[in-house]
């Protein structure tokens, strides 16, 4: 269930929407269990989560008539430029630094465009293989690889200077 929620959360970038999406996904999974052919269960469920998310996205935009960009603004964090992330260099506790790093990585990840974010979450956080990701996101495996490479590159550009300066600032 964490996998389902994690994906929904990173896709929707909204905790409430993520809950709705996951709940809907489990309902659908339950109904669809008869079509389940014994393949790996996790990609199967995550594919349902992904579909639910897309339906949710569509319904939401239709109903409220707002674009994704506007939505980003509403929820604050995702639209926030990386420079706004507050790094407190003074604290001596490594654990605190670690927590900041986590927040920073999360926020940066949320800022990646959707296809790249999706590929990276499935690969790095959910440990799916290239092949599973290709099936799940319905793109060729080559696309998965280039998305991952691009995603890591973007992430690296945004993150590495921050992380390194953050670590060096420690006494």
């Amino acid at each position: 269930m964490d996998a389902a929620y994690n994906l929904a959360r990173y896709l929707s970038r909204d905790p409430i929407a993520a809950e709705d999406v996951v709940q809907e996904a489990f309902l659908r999974a339950l109904r669809a269990f008869r079509t389940y052919r014994g393949e790996a269960a996790k990609p199967w469920l995550l594919a349902i989560v992904r579909n639910c998310f897309h339906d949710w996205g569509k319904a939401n935009r239709d109903r409220r008539g707002i674009s994704e960009e506007e939505e980003d603004g509403r929820y604050g964090a995702p639209g926030r430029p990386i420079d706004d992330i507050h790094l407190d260099h003074d604290t001596p506790e490594v654990i605190l630094l670690r927590r900041r790093e986590v927040e920073m990585v999360r926020t940066t990840l949320e800022n990646l465009p959707e296809p790249f974010r999706e590929a990276l979450v499935l690969r790095e956080l959910e440990d799916l293989s290239y092949k599973e990701i290709a099936l799940l996101t319905e793109v060729p495996i080559g696309t998965v690889m280039s998305r991952l490479a691009r995603a890591r590159q973007m992430l690296g550009e945004m993150l590495l200077p921050r992380v390194e300066s953050g670590r060096k600032a420690q006494p």
């Binding site: 269930m1 964490d2 389902a4 994690n6 990585v105 690969r123 956080l125 890591r152």
Partner: protein
């Protein structure tokens, strides 16, 4: 300095463990001689380390878990009622491993995989973990050491007030090595001891408070736990084997039991 453009994809493949042995070796060898690629690989490893850190994952809130557990239980309850007449359950023939009529297992295994790494009954869980650890530490694993169910089953007679089911699973890779009595949740309970490749699996059995078809496994202090109820009894299996093996154990146990009844 940047790495060789044509090797970028291979570097990612190396990080992701998607390369075959020959390619991994050649990429690693190349990175040793090519400064650009070595630098890029180091960068990728740092990013990989940052992102794959377990704590950037979001965890499902408790309320959501509860809601889903609730409707899963509702949805699987009618299926478990049907278990008594397996021939009339149309889905059973389709999936060979639920052929035991365990329609509930469909929903249950869904729950098993995703629904609840957290148990509601933490107290019992703690006791089971503690008891498992104790059984291994104090070399008081079995009160009676036997691989024969017909020796073990009568041994429990008179020592506890219900008859726990005992099955042999050696042919499925889980040899029975004995049984003992333990103390969980304020009562004496039977424990069946199995092995999986030298790892010990303790199976606690007690009368179920309320029937619940939901089966769950989790990792708790490095142990996998599986819980299920069947025929008015609650089963808790615990071991340091991986959760997949424990699922296998649950399935083997449940199917064997169905056959013997």
């Amino acid at each position: 300095m940047t790495g060789c453009a044509d090797r970028m994809v291979l570097l990612h493949g190396l990080i992701d463990g998607e390369l075959d042995a020959a390619n991994s070796v050649s990429v690693e060898a190349h990175a040793k001689t090519c400064l650009g690629c070595a630098e890029e690989l180091r960068r990728l490893k740092t990013i990989h380390g940052l992102v794959s850190a377990a704590d950037i994952r979001h965890h499902a809130p408790h309320e959501l878990r509860d809601r889903i557990a609730e409707f899963m239980e509702k949805a699987t309850a009618p299926a478990s009622a049907r278990m008594t007449m397996p021939s009339r359950w149309p889905g059973a023939s389709r999936l060979p491993w639920v052929a035991g009529g365990a329609g509930a297992m469909m929903g249950a295994s869904l729950a098993l995989l995703f629904a609840a790494p957290q148990f509601t009954n933490t107290g019992v869980q703690d006791q089971i973990v503690a008891s498992h650890v104790r059984s291994l530490l104090e070399s008081h694993l079995t009160d009676v050491a036997t691989s024969n169910q017909h020796t073990l089953k009568p041994w429990f007679n008179g020592r506890i007030d219900f008859a726990p089911p005992v099955v042999e699973l050696a042919d499925r890779g889980f040899p029975l090595i004995g049984g003992r009595l333990d103390y969980i949740g304020g009562r004496v309970v039977p424990v069946l001891v199995y092995q999986r490749r030298r790892h010990t699996i303790n199976l606690f059995i007690r009368p179920a408070g309320k029937p619940s078809p939901v089966t769950v496994t989790t990792r708790r202090e490095g142990y996998s736990l599986a819980r299920w109820t069947d025929d008015g009894l609650e089963f808790w299996a615990i071991s340091d084997v991986n959760p997949d093996d424990l699922r296998l154990f649950h399935r083997a146990f449940a199917l064997r039991l169905k056959r013997e009844l």
